[in-house]
C-alpha cells in the first residue's frame, strides 16, 4: 500500500515586483504557477529543470519558508496552510531541508556539537540527557565519526560539511526531507559518497525525499519518480524509467539530449534548443515552451496544454503537450 505523505495542489507562488516612485507593485514574477504533485511515503520525487524554473521556490513554499500565493498543501492528511506560525514551526520537526551550499547553511562559529544541540533544542526532539549519545550516533551514521564532534565547519571539506548538514536534518527524526541541490556543489567522488549516504539513510529510516536538482545523472540515481519543470509549470511527471527512457514532452527530450554522455563512441542526436529561457514575469502565452519548441504551431501559442496521459505512457506518467501522439507517429515534424 502506498500512502501519499505530501500532496500539493494548484500551488502558486507570485513574487511582487515593486516599481515607480511610490514603490507600488507593478508586476509579478510568476515563479511557480499552478503546480500539483504528490510524494508517496518512503519514496523520492525529484524536481528537475533549468535554473530559475521554480524548483527551489516550490520546495520553500512546501515548508512555508515563503507564504504561497495560492494552493493547497496536505502533509500527513493535514493542510499545512491552515496552521498558524507556531504550529507550523512544530511541523518542521517532521519536515527538514538540506541546502546546496554547505558553507553558507552552517554557522561558521559553531562546532558540530553546538549545531546539533541547537537543532535538537529548537524542536525539543531529544531529552537533554540523551542528546550527546544521539549526537555521537548521528555522526557515525553520516560517516563523520563521533570524534569530530567538537570541530568547526572550516576544519571540514565540502563533502564533510554537507554531512554535518545531513546530521542536523536527521537530529530531529524527520519523516520528510527536502534536498535542494544538496550535492550540486560537490566534486564527483564526494558527491557519490553523499548520494550513497542519502540512499542508505532513506532505507534505514523510511525517509521521504523531495529532491531538487538540475543534474539528471544524479536524479536518475536517486529518484523513484521525476517531475520536469519549465518556467513555473510541471511539463512532465512520472516514474523515473518513463521519464528517462520514454520521455514525451519536447522539452524533456531536449533536456535529456543536451547532457553530454561520458563515452566518446556514443554519438547522440542532439536537439539544440534555440535561445534562452523566457522571463517568468511575462511568460509566453499558451504553451510556455512554444518560443523554443521545434514543434510549436499557432495552437501552441493560443492554447495551454494540460498534463495528460496517452496510450504509450505507463504508470503515473503524464505530459503537457498538444502533439504527443502526432509527434510520436511522425505526423507532426519539427520545423527547420
Amino acid at each position: 500500500m502506498t500512502t501519499k505523505l505530501l500532496e500539493v495542489n494548484n500551488l502558486k507562488q507570485y513574487f511582487p515586483i515593486k516599481g515607480g516612485v511610490f514603490g507600488r507593485t507593478v508586476n509579478h514574477v510568476k515563479a511557480v504557477d499552478d503546480v500539483s504533485f504528490y510524494v508517496n511515503e518512503g519514496e523520492t520525487l525529484s524536481i528537475v529543470g533549468e535554473s530559475g524554473c521554480g524548483k527551489s521556490t516550490t520546495g520553500r513554499a512546501v515548508l512555508r519558508l515563503d507564504e504561497p500565493t495560492n494552493g493547497n498543501i496536505q502533509f500527513n492528511g493535514e493542510n499545512l496552510l491552515d496552521l498558524n506560525k507556531k504550529e507550523m514551526r512544530k511541523k518542521r520537526k517532521d519536515m527538514q531541508i538540506i541546502f546546496q551550499d554547505p558553507y553558507a547553511s552552517i554557522n561558521p562559529r559553531q562546532t558540530v556539537r553546538q549545531v546539533l544541540e541547537e537543532a535538537m533544542a529548537i524542536q525539543d526532539a531529544v531529552p537533554k540527557s540523551e542528546r550527546v549519545d544521539k549526537m555521537m550516533e548521528l555522526l557515525d551514521t553520516v560517516g563523520l565519526g563521533s570524534h569530530q564532534l567538537d570541530r568547526f565547519p572550516h576544519e571540514f571539506s565540502g563533502g564533510q560539511r554537507q554531512r554535518v548538514g545531513i546530521a542536523r536534518a536527521l537530529a530531529v527524526d524527520p519523516t520528510f526531507i527536502i534536498c535542494d541541490e544538496s550535492v550540486s556543489a560537490l566534486d564527483v567522488s564526494i558527491q557519490a559518497q553523499v548520494l550513497n549516504l542519502l540512499k542508505n539513510l532513506q532505507q534505514q529510516y523510511n525517509l521521504t525525499y523531495l529532491f531538487i536538482a538540475h543534474d539528471l545523472g544524479v536524479v536518475r540515481h536517486i529518484s523513484d519518480r521525476v517531475a520536469v519543470m519549465y518556467l513555473g509549470k510541471i511539463v512532465e511527471i512520472g516514474e523515473k524509467k518513463e521519464i528517462f527512457d520514454n520521455p514525451k514532452h519536447p522539452y524533456t527530450k531536449s533536456l535529456l539530449s543536451a547532457i553530454p554522455v561520458p563515452d566518446p563512441s556514443h554519438k547522440q542526436e542532439r536537439i539544440v534548443l534555440k535561445g534562452d529561457v523566457p522571463s517568468p514575469i511575462d511568460p509566453p502565452s499558451g504553451c510556455r515552451f512554444h518560443t523554443r519548441c521545434p514543434f510549436a504551431t499557432d495552437k501552441c501559442r493560443d492554447e495551454k496544454p494540460e498534463l495528460r496521459k496517452t496510450e504509450t505512457m505507463t504508470g503515473t506518467h503524464e505530459a503537457a503537450c498538444h502533439y504527443i501522439e502526432d509527434i510520436e507517429a511522425g505526423r507532426h515534424k519539427a520545423a527547420e
Binding site: E50, S189, N196, P260, V261, P262, P264, R270
Partner: protein, 344 residues
Amino acid sequence: MSNDADVLQIQDLQTSFFVDDGEVKAVDGVSLDIPKGKTVGIVGESGSGKSITSMSVMRLIRNPGRIKGGSIHYNGEDLLQKTEKQMQKIRGNKISMIFQEPMTSLNPVYTIGQQISEVIQIHQGLSKKDALSKSVEMLELVGIPSPKDRVKQYPHELSGGMRQRVMIAIALACNPELLIADEPTTALDVTIQAQILDLINELRRSLGMSVILITHDLGVVAETCDYVAVMYAGKVVEYADVHTLFKEPKHPYTVGLMNSLPRHDMDQDELNVIEGNVPKPGEMPEGCRFAPRCPFASDICTNELPDLMETEDGNQVRCWIYSEKWDGDPEVNVKNDYQTARSQ
C-alpha cells in the same frame, strides 16, 4: 616528447603560493603538450591545479603566487622567459582565455561593444569605427541575435549564456592560435551548455585553433576533446587520447572518477565511490599522492612518488603498477579489478 605539431609544450611546470602556513604547491611538475588544431581537456577535482596551470600559461599568476620552475614553449619560444611587455602582445592576441565566471570577467560599466572594440583596437590597431563594426561581426559569429543592438547593451542586460558568448567573442576577436577555456559552461544550464560547446567546436574547426578545455565534467570531455589530461593534487596522473582514456583508463584515480559518476543514460544500484578526500595542500603524502585513497596501494606507493611513464600505446600514466618496480599483484588490471580491490 618535443614535436613540431605542438602549439604548446609545458615542461615540468611548478607554480606555488607562499602563504602564512607555508608553500602551497598548486601545480607541481606538470608536463603537457597541446597538438595544433586539437582540443585537450584537463579534468580533475576542485583544487587539483587546473586553473593555476592555465593561468601560468597566460603568466597571470600574482602574489603570493610564483611560477617556480619549468618551461612553457609556445611555437618554440619559452613564455616563461618573456618580459611582461612581450606577454601583453601574446595575451588576448595569440593565446586567449575564457574564464569560469562570465559576469566577473566583463566590466559592468562598459557596453559590450566597447569591451570587444577595446581588445581589437589594442591588438590590431583598427580605428574606433572599424573596431566597432568588427565587434558586431564577432557577436554575429558567436550566434548572438540582433548584434547591432546588443553592442550598445551592458553585461547585466544579457543572460548568462549570452555573456559567455560575449566572452568567447572577445577571446576570438584577434584570431588566437590557442584558446584556453576554463570551465566555460559550468555556470550554465545544460541546454545553453550544449549551444556553447557546439560553438567552440565549430569555431575551432573553421578557424583551425587549438583549445585547452578545463572542466570537471567527464561528459563534456568525452564529447569535445581529442586528448585528455587527468590532474590530481597538482600533478598530471594520466594523459591519453579520449577514446583510450574512456575505454581503457589506466590510473586508479581515473577509474575511480569514472565509477563515481551517476549516469543519466543507465541505471546503477550503488555508486562506486572513491573513499576519503583530496589531500590538503599542507598534508601531501610523501609517495604517490593518491595512495591514501587508492585500493591498489602497495609498499612502494607510500614511499616513492611515481613518474609520468609512457605506456605501450604511447599514452602516459603516473602509477607504479605500470613500472618494473611494481611490488604488488603482477597480474593486476586496474579497470577490471577496481571494485574488488575496493571492497577488500
